[in-house]
């Protein structure tokens, strides 16, 4: 029997592993889970490009590697370009079917790597780009990124002066490139994530998956709550699960339980300084964004398949 959560694909979890234990992620790291799931979706004929991020460390130090597929570590801002280069070379070598996966953090995607990602997306390079979004520069010790949520604490946005302004909407940026496939995903829904990575792999052109990746030290949660907090992100509509085809057609994959954002925020130390008014403000913003998403999806708001 499987009791995966309400996922739109309830297939058995693939058993082949392309990641081997011994890697250096913290307890409860969402990023390592996302890599594991993604590689299961892609299989062994995959080359992975990893820019500077926690994953530069997680993968293991020379002369070791915890991945059973070839990987190329690259500079922080170069995931898009490096993946393009690998793609070009593989095509030249007659290997167009080999998947090229760029696996980058939010800093490497939303901030410093946005330019090269945009370049690759604009050229519609045949690559799969997964951003594991832990909402800050974790590798360097929890500094804010443009993916950091509004009013969150980080080491560069102290509780006395927390992050100003909302989280950048990266999907909107990518859909602006009219790439064939964009999706959000969440570690709490591994089968959904796998289905999306598979779909990305089957799609020719640039595909982008924005995967929420809880980080226990960075979010100030205890490690066992990692999945739970991620799940709440979706159920509170803070991080809805949806796909965008050709930059135009939005599909919400999952009907959130519509819990109050407080349920999500109050679990995390990085939001512990928030006042009732702050929370109300965040709730408003979340409700508003959700409304926009609903409108974009042109979908009945309460279509339930539960």
């Amino acid at each position: 029997m499987t009791t995966h959560q309400d996922s739109f694909t309830d297939k058995p979890y693939p058993q082949e592993e392309y990641l081997q234990s011994g890697y250096l992620s913290c307890q409860g790291c969402g990023g390592s889970m996302i890599m594991r799931h993604a590689l299961k979706a892609l299989g062994p004929d995959t080359v992975c490009v990893i820019p500077a991020s926690c994953w530069s460390i997680i993968a293991g130090n020379w002369p070791y590697s915890s991945l059973n597929i070839p990987i190329m570590h690259t500079a922080f801002e170069t995931a898009g370009a490096a993946a393009s280069g690998v793609r070009a070379a593989l095509d030249l070598k007659g290997k167009p079917e080999t998947h090229v996966l760029a696996f980058a953090g939010d800093g490497g995607t939303f901030d410093i790597g946005l330019q090269s990602l945009s370049g690759a997306a604009e050229r519609n390079e045949n690559i799969i780009y997964i951003c594991y979004d832990n909402e800050a520069y974790m590798n360097t010790g929890i500094q804010r990124s443009s993916a950091t949520p509004e009013m969150a604490w980080t080491t560069t946005t102290p509780a006395t002066f927390p992050k100003v302004g909302p989280k950048k909407n990266i999907i909107q940026i990518l859909t602006g490139h009219k790439i064939p496939y964009c999706a959000t995903a969440n570690v709490a829904w591994p089968m959904d994530l796998i289905a999306k990575v598979r779909r990305a792999a089957e799609t020719k052109g640039t595909t982008f998956i924005h995967a929420l990746s809880p980080c226990p030290p960075g979010w100030k949660i205890s490690s066992e709550k990692s999945i739970e907090v991620a799940r709440l992100a979706t159920h509170t509509k803070v991080f809805p699960l949806y796909e965008v085809i050709n930059g135009e057609s939005y599909h919400i994959n999952f009907e959130p339980k519509n819990l109050p954002v407080e349920a999500y925020l109050s679990m995390q130390g990085r939001f512990s300084h928030l006042s009732k008014a702050d929370i109300a403000h965040i709730q408003q913003r979340v409700d508003y964004e959700w409304k926009i998403l609903l409108q974009r999806s042109m979908m009945e708001p309460f279509h339930m398949n539960m």
């Binding site: 029997m1 009791t3 995966h4 979890y13 234990s21 011994g22 020379w62 070791y64 066992e224 999945i227």
Partner: protein, 587 residues
């Protein structure tokens, strides 16, 4: 390159020139980071603990969910030879305890049990691996308690002989509970199965009358389960007048196929099961029926579902009225005088005591009255060495009487009077007698075989044969609703059973409740959370960030934790939907 050891280069020549890695990280045993460790632990589902018969409720539902109905039936019979009976007449405390109750509705456990029992009986009872012991056990009374003990004792290799005073075996299942609730053929099939397992039943032999205590005492052990069968008297004037029928006697004659003639209007005095069943029988024999009960609805000892059915069938119930005297006319019953009561302070049962309302007397003309205010046990024939008190045989925690080799159970020894408790006490006696026959100290065994903290004993755990004992939950704590991870469960309505049309009830003893139909059985079974028991749902396996949870090899169920790499994050335990894992300090 070796996976097990880190690589150290001592000289430049052996060192690769480029930043290219080929070795794995497997040497890096991240298990050393851990300060708490996860462990798979089967914990007790509340339903299992709450079932007085000690059914492996979760276990049989799990099988039914996979469509393995025959295996489910067999699993039940490892504990309880009466699933068809329990699936019909048990008042299902398991469902009261079901964690699903706090989510939407409890799982329809007893309906599922009934479906399981529809399976044809297997050729042999569940295997125990026990050789013949050559020991004999005399069992007095063939009610559910006696037959259950006999069944398990036979499985354990002993020779039980059941002595029954009445013509047919089954106790109150046969002569108390009417056929519209428990069809005769259903009961007979289960009793026959018990006899086919090596149980000898001798009917028409009343202990103390047809067979002496000293003869019975020749057996290696004795189990007394004579139930409570003496009708309690009202002790009011004219109680011996013809037309006044004792409840249990009335039911017995109905069950025996020789019902008495009743008047058009029948009054039943009492509020227990006997009263309700008597009323419903009288209704089916063509009379209008009114029940008079001296307390209010809340205090009625009859099972609520039965009361509801009786009301729906047209039985009228008058509360807070008590009989004052029977009215006679020329030695014939002419009616009854009643009076109103009000509730005073609680009695020793905790229920509020009815007090008469002065001057409230009134008469009702009627020529059939059934009295059903309770039954008492007939213990007069017992030898004096077997002590009893308050009309109950005195027993210790595991059913032993004041005589070492004599055990007692069921209604005759317990305060709780119902089928499933009787079955549980039969199991306890079987285990205790077996231990006694093998000269083992049962006090040490009892905790190990008790389901959960307060549940019945488990025969499969007692026998510790095969892997049945694994299925009865662990000795660990009982899983509460708060222990579950509800994210993984969806709301789904409890499947309803169908019942006999009311038009057909007043004239026939046809069974009122139908079971769940085939298709919905699996749907209902799938509602079970499987509290505390791993279902191989893959959550731990899938969510472990460190791939430290491995599936066991092909053909094997379950998972293994690779402690070399488990960082102790606790996600597996947190994401287990059903509390089948725990985090703990390592030794």
């Amino acid at each position: 390159m070796s996976d097990e050891k880190p690589i150290t280069y001592h000289n430049l020549g052996e060192m690769p020139e480029y930043v290219i890695s080929e070795a794995s990280m497997l040497w890096n045993k991240t298990g050393t980071w851990r300060y708490l460790a996860p462990r798979y632990l089967t914990q007790t589902p509340p339903c299992n603990q709450q079932c007085p018969a000690g059914n492996d409720v979760e276990g049989f539902i799990r099988l039914m969910e996979k469509g393995a109905i025959a295996e489910a039936a067999q699993l039940i019979r490892e504990e309880n030879p009466f699933p068809a009976v329990c699936g019909r007449v048990c008042y299902h405390p398991c469902e009261t305890g079901c964690n699903r109750t706090q989510f939407d509705d409890p799982v329809a456990i007893h309906s599922l049990e009934r479906v399981a029992a529809e399976q044809p009986f297997p050729a042999t009872p569940p295997e125990t691996g026990r050789p013949d012991s050559g020991k004999t056990v005399a069992i007095i009374g063939s009610g559910p308690s006696g037959l259950t003990a006999a069944y398990h004792l036979a499985r354990m290799g002993h020779q039980p002989t059941v002595y029954e005073a009445l013509d047919e075996p089954g106790g109150l299942l046969r002569y108390g509970i009417p056929a519209y609730r428990l069809p005769r053929n259903i009961l007979k099939a289960e009793v026959d199965h018990i006899t086919s397992c090596g149980v000898k039943i001798i009917c028409g032999k009343r202990a103390g009358v047809d067979i002496s205590w000293s003869d019975l005492n020749k057996s290696d052990a004795v189990f007394i389960t004579v139930g409570v069968h003496r009708n309690r008297r009202l002790e009011i004037p004219a109680e011996n007048t013809a037309g006044i029928l004792p409840g249990l006697g009335f039911l017995e004659s109905v069950a025996g196929g020789t019902p008495p003639r009743l008047g058009q209007h029948v009054i039943v005095i009492g509020g227990g099961n006997t009263a309700i069943d008597s009323a419903r029988c009288a209704l089916r024999l063509g009379s209008d029926v009114s029940i008079y009960y001296h307390r209010s609805r809340d205090e009625m000892p009859a099972f609520e579902e039965e009361v509801n059915e009786a009301l729906k069938e047209g039985v009228k119930i008058h509360f807070l009225t008590q009989p004052v005297q029977f009215l006679t006319d020329n030695q014939h019953l002419a009616g009854i005088q009643l009076r109103e009561t009000r509730l005073g302070s609680p009695d020793e049962s905790g229920r509020r005591r009815p007090e008469p309302v002065p001057g409230s007397e009134f008469d009702i003309p009627v020529n059939t009255i059934i009295t059903a205010i309770g039954e008492t046990a007939d213990l007069d024939w017992l030898p004096p060495e077997i002590s009893h008190e308050n009309n109950r045989i005195t027993i210790n925690l595991f059913g032993q009487t004041s005589l070492e080799k004599v055990f007692a159970g069921g209604d005759a020894a317990l305060t709780e009077h119902n089928v499933t408790t009787a079955i549980g006490s039969g199991k306890l006696a079987a285990c205790a007698i077996d231990a006694f026959l093998h000269n083992q100290d049962f006090t040490g065994i009892m905790p190990r075989i008790t389901i959960g903290e307060t549940g019945a004993v488990s025969v499969s755990r007692y026998l510790n044969h095969g892997d049945a004992h694994k299925k009865q939950g662990g000795p660990g704590k009982v899983v509460s609703f708060e222990d579950l991870n509800l994210a993984y469960f969806r709301k789904s309505a409890r499947q309803k059973i169908t019942t006999l049309d009311f038009n057909n009830r007043s004239s026939s003893f046809e069974e009122v409740n139908n079971g769940l139909s085939g298709e919905v059985t699996v749907i209902e079974a799938k509602r079970c959370f499987h509290c505390g028991v791993c279902t191989d749902c893959d959550n731990c396996y899938m969510f472990c960030p460190d791939i430290a949870i491995l599936k066991k090899g092909p053909g094997e169920e379950g998972y293994r934790i690779n402690m070399d790499y488990c960082k102790g994050c606790g996600i597996c335990v947190n994401e287990c939907p059903r509390a089948a894992m725990i985090m703990e300090k390592e030794q």
